[in-house]
């Protein structure tokens, strides 16, 4: 005799039904979200639709660096790994030109985001932030890096605690900044479903826009002792670190490939800073190195992965 869901009843099949199976069955039949057993509750939460049917934020970030990375930037990578409990650190990425292969690495690691630290000329650091496999990606030039090891940065927080992410209102002023804000939220804000999280909230990540650049700070929340003067906040902040400044280079439509959506007009490559461009000699028609980007197999676009001034004579 079939029961409610059309299958022959288990009793009829002569199987013993354990408590687990009973509960599951009951849950499936009733479709109620208010669970009675702990097991059912857990099952509900694990579903994509999440607790109480609301959407969940599920993110995993792949952390990578290129070869030729220096000690300071390696420490920065380690600091990021410590701050993002939903991140996975992978070995160094060998390729210089065909970065879209990172999408495959991300897929293998089960990640839907990637942060790639590209170190060029042993001095310049570029930070790539991408939503793998299809999403947009951003290339930043990183400046003023201070790692957590610096003794001036005296704060400390739980490893794995979820941060409060604070954004400047300037992020809503331009479409490219809005896109960046969304990407920062998805990459830096720790989701509730991550396995390595700890229960308390004791630090704040701060993103601000000053001088057309994005400034990153990380503060520890210190609760003041009870006798608090009126007009004063009950908490104070101590900087933990790291701190860095991101200068947008380009925003791409694809992940490490694709058409350029936004290009920063004020960005000057460090190569150009140190070796200023000279106009070609009069009378000659000397063509500087033609711009070459790698062709992405998936989107078949010639992606401008490198600035023209970087290829050629200034490249190691």
């Amino acid at each position: 005799m079939p029961d409610a869901d059309g299958l022959p009843s288990m009793a009829a099949r002569g199987e013993k039904m354990g408590r687990k199976a009973l509960l599951l069955k009951a849950g499936a039949a009733s479709g109620s979200t208010k669970a009675t057993g702990a097991l059912r509750e857990r099952r509900q939460v694990d579903r994509a639709s999440g607790d109480l049917g609301k959407p969940q934020n599920k993110q995993r970030v792949l952390l990578l660096s290129s070869r030729g990375i220096t000690y300071r930037y390696r420490h920065l990578l380690n600091d990021l790994h410590a701050l993002l409990p939903h991140s996975k650190k992978e070995s160094k990425f060998e390729q210089k030109t065909e970065l879209y292969a990172l999408n495959e690495v991300a897929e293998l690691a089960n990640c839907n985001n990637a942060i790639f630290l590209e170190c060029r000329r042993h001095t310049d650091l570029y930070l790539w932030m991408a939503k793998t496999p299809n999403g947009p990606s951003v290339k930043f030039f990183v400046q003023n890096v201070h790692t957590m090891d610096e003794l001036r940065l005296t704060g400390n927080c739980l490893k794995g605690s979820r941060p409060i992410v604070s954004f400047d209102k300037n992020f809503d002023s331009a479409p490219h900044l809005s896109l960046l804000k969304e990407m920062f939220t998805q990459i830096f804000a720790t989701p509730r479903t991550s396995r390595k999280i700890k229960p308390f909230v004791d630090h704040v990540l701060n993103f601000s826009v000053v001088d057309n650049k994005i400034w990153f700070r990380n503060y520890q929340v210190v609760e003041k002792a009870p006798p608090i003067a009126p007009g004063q906040e009950p908490i104070s902040l101590v900087e933990i670190g790291p701190r860095f400044v991101l200068d947008i280079v380009r925003i791409f439509d694809g992940s490490f490939c694709g058409a350029t959506l936004y290009e920063n007009p004020t960005f000057v490559t460090p190569a150009q800073v140190s070796f200023p461009r000279q106009t070609p000699q009069p009378g000659t028609d000397k063509v500087d190195h033609p711009y070459l980007g790698a062709t992405c197999h998936e989107c078949q676009s010639r992606s401008p992965l490198r600035e023209p001034e970087e290829c050629g004579r200034t490249e190691i």
Binding site: W215, E233, Y262
Partner: protein
């Protein structure tokens, strides 16, 4: 045919050439003219066709006009081509090297807002997502920092601090309402982002810094005090020197006045005791007390002949008698009389037989046999008691003798 001759305008040209017979031919030729590289040929052709109908001047004019027209059309076409190229470039994202391309115009940086917005919509988290999922907050007011202020560390960091503080307060409030624990209990031990060893180093550094600051402040204070102290010391020394100089001056004055001051009889002179006291004061070598009285200027210098009561005073006088340069004290008639004829215990005529009866003894022995003990005992062999010592009153035993009877040892 009714053609107008000598017309210059293009329109009229068209009319001129609008003859049905020659219209298509002209049109063909015009098209030929537009294509580059066929200038010479088409010109010739034109002239050939026209020569039959037009005069020579008209021919020239129309030629010129045609040239202009052709050039204008060429220019336009080129512009259109360049624009097309630029658009293509912009679309594909290829960059032209600026240094080489004199032909390509400067590229505008890409900012396709429509595409950006579309992309944002495609990746955005569902709007129904709750705060607890992301813990992301946006500050209500934008951070208005001028680009120059970016290099002003303090202001910039304060602005960041304010923004983060606002977000932290608001975020924690919301979490508290949701019932999520935010404060870490004191006994909750877990791995921290920075290791304990590192935090120890941080603490040591802070302690070092505070001690360094204190040390430097102490050193500064010491330096200041030293500087001040030196000044004070110098001032004091100078004062001392001045006071000493003043004292010496006064002394000199006194001596001068005293020595040549027999004529200067004033209130304090005569046979008064004041004179004696003044002298006694002057002769006394004790320091500050003497100085004070002198400084105050209370005592007048003695006037008139000195009348030394005690032998002691006399003997003390005697010390200065030679130094001041004045007449020897005690050399006057009176003094001599008072002293007596000389010798010990001799009668000086019945006047002063007490202390003064013992005048200075005469040494009657051989020269070279002078003995102090003998002096005290008496040269004339008189082994009397206390010769040379003032008589009268009970003799006070010496210190050692007294010490034996002292109840409290060491009492002063």
């Amino acid at each position: 045919m009714g053609k107008k001759k000598g017309t210059k305008s293009r329109k009229d040209d068209a009319d001129v050439e609008g003859d049905s017979e020659f219209a298509d031919i002209e049109a063909f030729i015009a098209a030929q003219d537009a294509a580059p590289g066929l200038k010479g040929g088409s010109g010739k052709k034109k002239s050939k066709v026209k020569s039959g109908r037009d005069e020579v001047e008209d021919e020239a004019e129309t030629l010129q006009q045609k040239e202009e027209a052709r050039l204008a059309r060429e220019l336009e076409e080129e512009k259109r081509a360049m624009a097309r190229v630029a658009a293509e470039e912009a679309e594909s994202g290829l960059v032209q090297d600026e240094g080489t391309s004199q032909r390509a115009p400067r590229r505008v940086p890409i900012n396709s807002t429509a595409a950006l917005t579309a992309r944002l919509a495609s990746i955005r988290l569902p709007p129904t997502i709750s705060f607890i999922e992301t813990l992301a907050l946006t500050h209500p007011t934008p951070l208005d920092l001028a680009p120059e202020a970016a290099s002003d560390d303090l202001r910039r960091e304060l602005a960041f601090y304010d923004q983060a503080l606002h977000a932290a307060v608001k975020g924690l409030e919301q979490l508290r309402q949701l019932g999520v624990p935010t404060t870490r209990p004191v006994d909750y031990f877990a791995e921290m982002v920075k290791a304990d060893a590192h935090m120890l180093k941080v603490k040591q550094r802070i302690a070092e810094e505070t001690t360094n600051i204190k040390k430097s402040e102490e050193a500064k204070k010491q330096r200041e005090q030293k500087r001040l102290g030196k000044k004070v010391q110098q001032q004091r020394e100078q004062e001392k020197r001045e006071a000493k100089a003043r004292d010496v001056e006064k002394l000199k004055q006194l001596k001068r006045k005293r020595g040549g001051g027999v004529e200067e009889e004033s209130s304090g002179g005569g046979g008064d005791d004041f004179g004696v006291t003044a002298d006694a004061d002057m002769d006394d070598e004790s320091g500050p007390a003497r100085k004070k009285t002198r400084g105050e200027g209370g005592t007048q210098p003695p006037r008139g002949p000195s009348l030394a009561h005690s032998k002691r005073a006399l003997s003390k006088h005697a010390k200065y008698s030679g130094k001041t340069g004045g007449p020897k004290h005690g050399s006057g008639r009176f003094e001599k009389q008072k002293r007596g004829a000389g010798g010990f215990g001799e009668d000086d005529g019945g006047k002063n037989k007490g202390n003064m009866s013992r005048g200075p003894q005469k040494f009657k022995g051989k020269p070279g046999t002078f003995n102090v003990r003998k002096m005290k005992e008496g040269f004339d062999g008189n082994k009397g008691k206390n010769r040379g010592k003032p008589s009268g009153g009970s003799k006070r035993p010496g210190k050692d003798a007294r010490a034996k009877f002292r109840r409290t040892p060491g009492k002063k």
